[in-house]
């Protein structure tokens, strides 16, 4: 292996070095500084005689005399089942003081695309125990469902609740122990406190044993963030498709990842796209999110819950916007609901799960699930709409029908959504609760529900009505 001392430019996170042999794109580089530190980096551009290197740990301390070694391979993640229970830094080095990792194989972190022909369509319902998700925006195995949040909102609590409670009821009943559940947590640029919150919860609930943690913290080098999610996903793919685990990958915070992309783009003087983010951000994000899924003939699955904080609560910002176009839906955490004390403050109206329709219904969850969800959406939207009007004309000016919808919307928030971060609700209970709420409305209003289901599930309070007329 040749060593060079030919650095001729250092700018931001980038180092340019002259070489006299061909260097491959994306190859791994080690840079040794004078004080004996070894920094790692990756080739971003390779032309005859000159390469651009992105240094993960930052370029401070590098000078013209630092020596550069090209390792002749692209970045690999050493993977093994023993990774479960381990804590790593953002570049995959263990930081928990545990034994050295003996890899079973070393996988390229730039995963190849799954052949769409080899995929299996995800339709296995995951019960998260959260009514707003199970009832209204059902998560299925192999889905990528991000949480759209913003600064100051309890998205981490929601993510933890999901990680804690997620289960597949059917398999539990059958006592099927074919596949185990694992959580991979990829942290990018979150604060030490946030990281502690996750780690404490993992330790408290014993989840750490079946977790792998990759932590790039806020004070770690920003450029490192571009590899952290890839390490996490490579590990996830290995556990899912080689070792038959059902893997839930939580990536937080995608906004920090995109900031790092922008930083590199700016350092390379690329033509920027919207708001200074690189024009290839869609493609780049897709290479992460699309690594969720199921493959025919394999037991395991990769389910992703990326978390992103929307700058200025704005979902048209490039990060949430591009994410929404790639992922299969999104869960909105809402500031107003949060300030009303609703836990979890999920606003179901803009939320969506694209894979829901195929994962629910007869034989999968319950026959009436789809209709109930649709009707509740429509009724809550109507009530929400009327609230503006109430502010102007007052409730008395509204018709009886309108008042019923307003009541529905209020009760929907307090009874259905606000369940607390520690309640694990069975799907049956979620749907029954839905029927309790819908039964406040007259039967004729339930135009999205099949008549049969109304017969079976509508909670008639005729008894009371009879009494009322008797009076």
């Amino acid at each position: 292996m040749k060593e060079y001392q030919t650095i001729n430019e250092i700018s931001g996170p980038l180092v340019y070095a002259e070489v006299d042999e061909p260097i491959g794109y994306d190859e791994i580089v080690e840079i040794e500084t004078e004080d004996g530190r070894t920094l790692r980096g990756q080739v971003l551009e390779s032309s005859d005689g000159l390469v651009a290197i992105q240094v993960f740990e930052g370029t401070s301390g590098i000078d013209r005399d630092a020596s550069v070694r090209f390792l002749g391979e692209t970045l690999k993640m050493p993977v093994t089942e023993d990774l479960l229970g381990r804590v790593m830094d953002g570049t995959g080095q263990p930081i928990d003081g545990g034994p050295e990792i003996v890899p079973e194989s070393r996988e390229d972190i730039i995963g190849a695309a799954i052949n769409p022909y080899s995929r299996e369509y995800p339709e296995e319902f995951i019960q998260t125990g959260v009514s707003a998700i199970d009832g209204m925006n059902t998560l299925v195995r192999g889905q990528k469902l991000p949480i759209f949040s913003a600064s100051g909102l309890p998205h981490n609590d929601l993510a933890l609740q999901i990680a804690r409670q997620a289960s597949v009821p059917e398999e539990e009943e059958e006592g099927d122990e074919g596949s185990e559940f694992a959580v991979i947590f990829g942290a990018m640029g979150i604060t030490q406190e946030e990281a502690n919150e996750f780690m404490d919860d993992f330790e408290r609930t014993g989840a750490l044993e079946r977790s792998v943690v990759f932590a790039n913290l806020a004070d770690d080098p920003a450029v490192e963030r571009t590899v952290t999610p890839r390490l996490a996903l490579t590990t996830a793919e290995y556990l899912a498709f080689e070792k038959d685990y059902h893997v839930l990958v939580i990536l937080t915070d995608m906004t920090n990842y995109c900031e790092a992309l922008r930083e590199i783009g700016a350092a390379r003087e690329e033509v920027p796209g919207r708001r200074g983010y690189p024009g290839y951000m869609y493609t780049d994000l897709a290479t992460l999110y699309e690594r969720a899924g199921r493959i025919q003939g394999r037991e395991g699955s990769v389910t992703q819950i990326p978390i992103l904080t929307m700058p200025g609560d704005d979902d048209t910002h490039p990060i949430p916007d591009l994410t929404g176009y790639i992922t299969e839906g999104q869960i909105y955490v809402d500031r107003d609901l949060n300030s009303q004390g609703v836990q979890p403050p999920v606003n179901v109206l803009p939320s969506l799960s694209r894979l829901m329709d195929d994962g629910i219904g007869e034989g999968l969850t319950r026959e009436d699930h789809g209709d109930v969800a649709n009707q509740m959406y429509a009724a809550y939207a109507e009530g929400e709409n009327l609230r503006d009007l109430v502010n102007i004309v007052g409730r008395e000016a509204l018709s009886d029908r309108d008042n019923k919808y307003l009541d529905f919307a209020d009760d929907f928030e307090t009874d259905f959504i606000d369940q607390g971060f520690d309640t694990n609700r069975e799907l049956e209970d979620t749907l029954d609760l839905g029927w309790d709420l819908l039964s406040q409305l007259p039967k004729e209003e339930l135009n999205r529900i099949d008549e049969e289901f109304i017969e079976t599930y509508y909670v008639d309070d005729e008894g009371e009505e009879v009494e009322a007329t008797a009076d």
């Binding site: 491959g24 794109y25 390779s46 005859d48 769409p116 493959i295 299969e328 694209r354």
Partner: protein, 585 residues
């Protein structure tokens, strides 16, 4: 992808690599030639030539490729293989069959440097001649027929670049696509296999004005905003507003002979849904499996960006080939924004001067070139055929003023605007009836009037007027509440509500409601009109509006969609509504 001949290969050497863009030195190549890059032979296309340096976009991941590796030129432009075997197939963006790739790579993940022809070169097809020895044939003429699938007869044509001549030898029998099936007197040998460069439109005699609608079975589309066979339409909408479901619905139910579905830079799981669902669905026209008339092109968002740029061209070239046979072809492209972004990404790697929002200055030209390949054509062989193009657009933040939406709207004649608000209220398909338009309406009305009902355009206009009035009234209602409106306007709001709920909304996931024939679309409107007419008469006769909007029979209007035997149901319902209303005064 077509396997280019290797004999006149020229080689060069890689100079630099930056993502999908590679430059090479000493390569003798023309613009748009296909080249094989590096030791692994990754496929690429020449996109810029400057002095001794040739710039190449590579259709595969370039990790590990470095300077000094060879680049080999095939001397041929990016072409597709045309011939029997394209239906029921699933391709990537450069027409490599994904099932063959899975087999060849022996992995569920897409490896690099593996090539495969677009059609099976070994399979034998039963050829039925349509010409006899001694017949004169020229370019485009049909010389024989092959049953490609149960639904579609593949017509074997004289290639467009042939000089034509007299048939000296033709015989029926089983042939592979490479075998000669017809020999001409000038020595030309015609096979079932043609190659065509994707960036060049296939020739036709004339583009004509389309007069037949592409029936989609979607009420809001057929009823209010129809598209013609040979027309163009755009579906822009923010994420979650139902673009893909609408595209899938069209691919499933549109009454085209052939459907080419291009998944351009979209989700892998969505393409899997198509791949799993379509073989199980029946073609509403023939009852055969839907895949028998479908060609799928899947280039998901994590597959290489350059192949995303080419997948649209691959799709339209295949569509044109079936058009040449005299078929009506519908091409769905989901989404053209991803295609435009691929252009932007490559343009920015080339360090070209950007136009609006970083898109290249040639964005508008490329979009128009693509949509212009749609149309209702008279083919060179005397038949007529059409290519209808329906492009989804994914505007960032749902903002329709962005360049891709705007440049698309300047070209297409049908605009189906998807609306996030409607989607939030679970009004599906969430096509905004105030913003959408179709410029084909007048052109298509005669067909509907002849084939469905005479008052087609009249009753549609009534519905549009009611919906328009509703949107004006809604503004007032937002301020003062519904009860402050005069009685007739309150009634109008109720009528409009039924138009929205029973007519405009349609449940794509309900087995019956998912496809609504034009007759049923019409009858639903007449039912609501019956209610309208009778209720206004009752109002004139002094019946209070509260009674008119709380009938026992009218909620059944919302159930028409899911009725299989709708005619009887509607007859009865109309009678009940009339009876109930007339009983009030």
């Amino acid at each position: 992808m077509s396997q280019a001949t290797q004999q006149d290969a020229e080689t060069g050497v890689i100079e630099s690599v930056s993502g999908p863009v590679v430059t090479a030195r000493d390569l003798d190549a023309r613009m748009n030639d296909v080249v094989y890059v590096g030791d692994e032979g990754l496929m690429g296309e020449v996109i810029e030539i400057e002095g001794d340096i040739t710039t190449i976009q590579v259709y595969e991941e370039t990790s590990g490729v470095g300077p000094g590796e060879p680049v080999e030129n095939t001397g041929e432009p990016l072409s597709v293989d045309l011939g029997p075997g394209m239906l029921d197939a699933i391709y990537d963006g450069t027409q490599r069959p994904l099932d063959v790739l899975e087999e060849k790579m022996n992995s569920a993940f897409l490896d690099r440097g593996v090539d495969a022809p677009g059609i099976d070169l070994e399979k034998e097809w039963e050829f039925q001649p349509e010409v006899e020895e001694g017949d004169e044939v020229s370019a485009g003429d049909v010389v024989g027929i092959v049953e490609e699938t149960v639904t579609i007869d593949h017509k074997v044509m004289v290639p467009p670049d042939s000089e034509g001549g007299e048939v000296v030898s033709v015989e029926s029998g089983d042939y592979t696509v490479e075998d000669t099936v017809v020999e001409l007197d000038n020595g030309e040998e015609i096979t079932m296999h043609q190659e065509w460069p994707v960036r060049t439109p296939r020739p036709a005699v004339e583009k004509k004005t389309p007069t037949k609608p592409l029936i989609s079975g979607q009420r809001v589309l057929d009823g209010l905003f129809p598209i013609a066979k040979g027309g163009t339409a755009a579906i822009p909408g923010p994420f979650g507003s139902g673009k893909t479901v609408t595209q899938h619905q069209l691919a499933k139910w549109a009454d085209a002979d052939i459907v080419v579905y291009v998944g351009c830079g979209e989700r892998g799981n969505e393409m899997t849904e198509v791949i799993e669902d379509f073989p199980e669905l029946d073609d509403p026209k023939t009852g055969n499996p839907l895949m028998a008339r479908t060609c799928l092109i899947a280039n998901t968002s994590n597959m290489p960006v350059a192949a995303r740029e080419s997948c649209i061209y691959t799709g339209i070239t295949i569509a044109e080939f079936f058009r040449d046979m005299g078929y009506d072809v519908a091409l769905m492209a989901d989404s053209t924004s991803r295609w435009a972004e691929a252009m932007r990404e490559i343009s920015s790697r080339l360090e070209e001067m950007p136009g609006e929002e970083g898109y290249p200055a040639y964005l508008s030209a490329r979009l128009s070139q693509f949509y212009e390949r749609a149309g209702f054509f008279e083919n060179t062989n005397g038949t007529t055929g059409s290519v209808s193009v329906i492009g989804a657009v994914s505007p960032p933040g749902g903002d329709f003023s962005e360049p891709v939406t705007q440049n698309t709207l300047r070209i297409v004649k049908t605009f189906w605007a998807l609306d996030a608000d409607l989607a939030e209220r679970r009004h599906f398909p969430s096509i905004n009836w105030n913003e959408s338009y179709s410029l084909y309406r007048d052109q298509l009305d005669p067909w509907f009037e002849e084939n469905v009902t005479e008052d087609w355009s009249e009753i549609r206009q009534w519905a549009i007027d009611v919906l328009d009035e509703e949107s004006e009234l809604q503004e007032i209602v937002q301020l003062v509440g519904k009860d402050a409106l005069p009685e007739d306007q309150q009634l109008t709001l109720e009528i409009a509500r039924y138009l929205r709920e029973a007519y405009l909304q349609q449940n794509a996931f309900h087995p019956t409601d998912t496809f609504c024939p034009p007759e049923k679309t019409h009858l639903i409107l007449t039912t609501i009109k019956t209610y309208n007419d009778e209720a206004f008469e009752a109002l004139d006769a002094g019946v209070p509006v509260e009674d008119l909007v709380s009938l026992d029979s009218t909620p059944r209007i919302n159930r028409i969609g899911v009725q299989e035997d709708y005619e009887e149901f509607i007859e009865e319902l109309k009678e009940d509504i009339t009876e109930e209303l007339r009983g009030m005064y």
